[in-house]
């Protein structure tokens, strides 16, 4: 049984229906990526999973239980953390306070060692722990956003465009981190416009167009698919 499964999911904002009935499965330990162009419905899919957008119909099941009617904080408690588009860090709080908020739902003894784990993954955050997060560079803010999500020890990590607005070197660093996180056993659903990088790191991939899934398969396979190469990998 899949850890996460979406069935016939429809969601949108106001008069706009951004996703029009999609099915996605993510198994435990997998990296699954959802690629597509701007406005195809990628972010709405993630927001419907984390509860920020209420599905109009269809179901979201996590670990066998329906979560599509739970409030956002209950979904976090169930084990899903989202790194939102635009990073969503708290600019006026310190780096350390941002990480503390990541562990907001936890009271277990492992929290202390998880700060060390995050600092080992992102040494820059340790150096800047006492700074207000608004003073960080774009790349550092992305690291903070990912580190903060890891502080929840999620069973499923939702990453929304982690490479957006970053220089090529930083994009490489972020993807190296994604590999590292998966080696530690995490399950990831990754939304990306940078299809090349996303397909390289993912076990399986879905292509979304105008709110519908048009293709799915193994990451390496889709990277070879002609239509994918034309549409998303910039080949004529």
């Amino acid at each position: 049984m899949a850890l996460l499964s979406l069935r016939g999911l429809v969601a949108g904002y106001g008069g706009i229906t951004a996703i029009k009935g999609i099915d996605i499965d993510v198994d435990e330990g997998e990296i699954v990526t959802l690629i597509g162009s701007n406005g195809a419905g990628k972010s709405t899919t993630l927001r419907a999973i984390s509860g920020l957008v209420r599905p109009r119909s269809g179901t979201v099941a996590f670990d066998g239980a329906a979560i599509d009617r739970l409030p956002v904080h209950e979904i976090v408690k169930a084990g899903i953390s989202q790194v939102p588009e635009g990073r969503g860090i708290f600019h006026r709080l310190t780096v350390y306070e941002n990480l503390q908020l990541g562990a907001f739902q936890r009271s277990d003894a492992g929290v202390a060692s998880d700060y060390e784990r995050v600092f080992a993954l992102f040494p820059r955050l340790r150096e800047r722990a006492r700074q207000t997060a608004g003073t960080l560079s774009g790349g550092e803010q992305q690291m903070l956003s990912m580190g903060r999500a890891l502080m929840a020890r999620p069973r499923l990590l939702l990453l929304d465009e982690p490479s957006m607005g970053l220089s090529p070197i930083l994009v490489d660093a972020i993807f190296a981190t994604i590999r590292q996180i998966r080696e530690q056993g995490a399950t990831i659903l990754l939304v990306e416009q940078n299809a090349l990088m996303a397909l390289e790191v993912a076990d399986r991939a879905y292509v979304i167009e105008s709110g519908l899934i048009t293709l799915k398969g193994a990451g390496a396979e889709l990277a070879k698919d002609d239509s994918v190469r034309r549409a998303y990998l910039g080949e004529a």
Partner: protein, 319 residues
């Protein structure tokens, strides 16, 4: 040698003490406005009535425990119980108002909760004035000993000293809660972005209620201090201090906690020391009643020249 000022040194020092006394009350009330604005971008215009009901709860407690006959150690016990009753009454009022008048309008246009806030404000003040007091007033018992204490060059009454000291202590506790506790972090996170706070697992609705509750407890405490200092209380008593404290919050930068405190003291001092300064101008002699004119002129000036206030920041960006 001609003196530098027309008014004597004693007058200046008295006005300084008066300014700090009323400034303490403004600051305590202003904190509630600024914190609720921080999380909801809502001006809680019923906050003055939250303050008023706290004052009445404190009054009822003091009278029930003996009123003017209180003496010795019983004064301290009665004061603590009055503060608890006032904090509780204000908290209950604020939480109920949030649930009934604001939460159902959370996603309505911003004018709607503003109107409902004003409606609740008018309702509560008239309920007390017309429903219970029939236009009369109640008078706080005099429980503090007469006489002044000398603090260096300053002459202060026992009541003024207690008022200033206890206000500072309460503001210190609030600051500690907001800066150092998990609840405080949740409040600051919700103030920056409700969605992102929810993604951390913060229960946003509960955090908003806690914010109302904290501001209300401070307003209830301020209600007791106001009653002890000005003696007469009535249903409409919340209006002027409420609007003044709102002015203080805007002055300091609405949404900012240090801003509300600085704005409160600044307004208190402007009304007293500022009026005295204007009286130094030849031909000017403003009586005490002019303090309200000065306060609201200041509000207008701030809104024109520095709408973000002393500590104000631009509207936080929402991701």
């Amino acid at each position: 040698m001609t003196p530098l000022f027309l008014a004597s040194t004693e007058v200046w020092l008295d006005q300084l003490v008066n300014g700090l006394t009323t400034g303490s009350i403004y600051a305590l009330i202003a904190l509630g406005y600024t914190m609720v604005y921080g999380v909801l971008q809502l001006i809680n215009f019923a906050h003055g009535e939250v303050f008023m009901l706290g004052s009445f709860a404190g009054y009822g407690t003091l009278v029930a425990l003996g009123g003017n006959d209180l003496s010795g150690g019983m004064v301290a016990v009665a004061l603590i119980l009055a503060f608890l009753a006032a904090g509780g009454a204000s908290l209950g009022t604020a939480v109920a108002v949030e649930r009934v008048a604001y939460r159902p309008l959370r996603n309505a246009p911003r004018l709607a909760p503003l109107i409902s806030a004003i409606g609740v404000s008018v309702l509560l003040s008239h309920l007390v004035d017309d429903g219970f007091l029939n236009g009369g007033a109640k008078f706080y018992p005099q429980i503090f000993p007469d006489g002044d204490i000398e603090l260096g060059p300053l002459q202060v009454t026992y009541l003024q000293l207690f008022l200033m000291g206890s206000s500072l202590a309460m503001m210190g506790v609030l600051y500690w809660i907001v800066q150092q506790t998990k609840t405080g972090r949740a409040i600051r996170a919700v103030a920056e972005s409700r969605d992102n706070a929810a993604l951390m697992g913060v229960n946003v609705n509960r955090t908003i209620v806690v914010t109302f509750a904290l501001g209300a407890v401070l307003a209830g405490f301020a209600g007791v201090l106001y009653g002890l200092f000005f003696s007469s209380i009535r249903g409409s008593m919340g209006f002027l201090p409420g609007v003044k404290a709102f002015t203080a919050a805007v002055l300091g930068g609405i949404g900012s906690i240090p801003g509300a405190v600085v704005g409160g003291y600044f307004l208190g001092l402007t009304e007293t020391v500022g009026r005295e300064l204007l009286n130094e101008i030849p031909g000017v002699n403003l009586p005490n009643q002019w303090k309200d004119v000065i306060a609201f002129a200041l509000l207008v000036l701030v809104l024109i020249f520095r709408p973000t206030g002393i500590f104000g920041q631009k509207e936080s960006k929402r991701a």
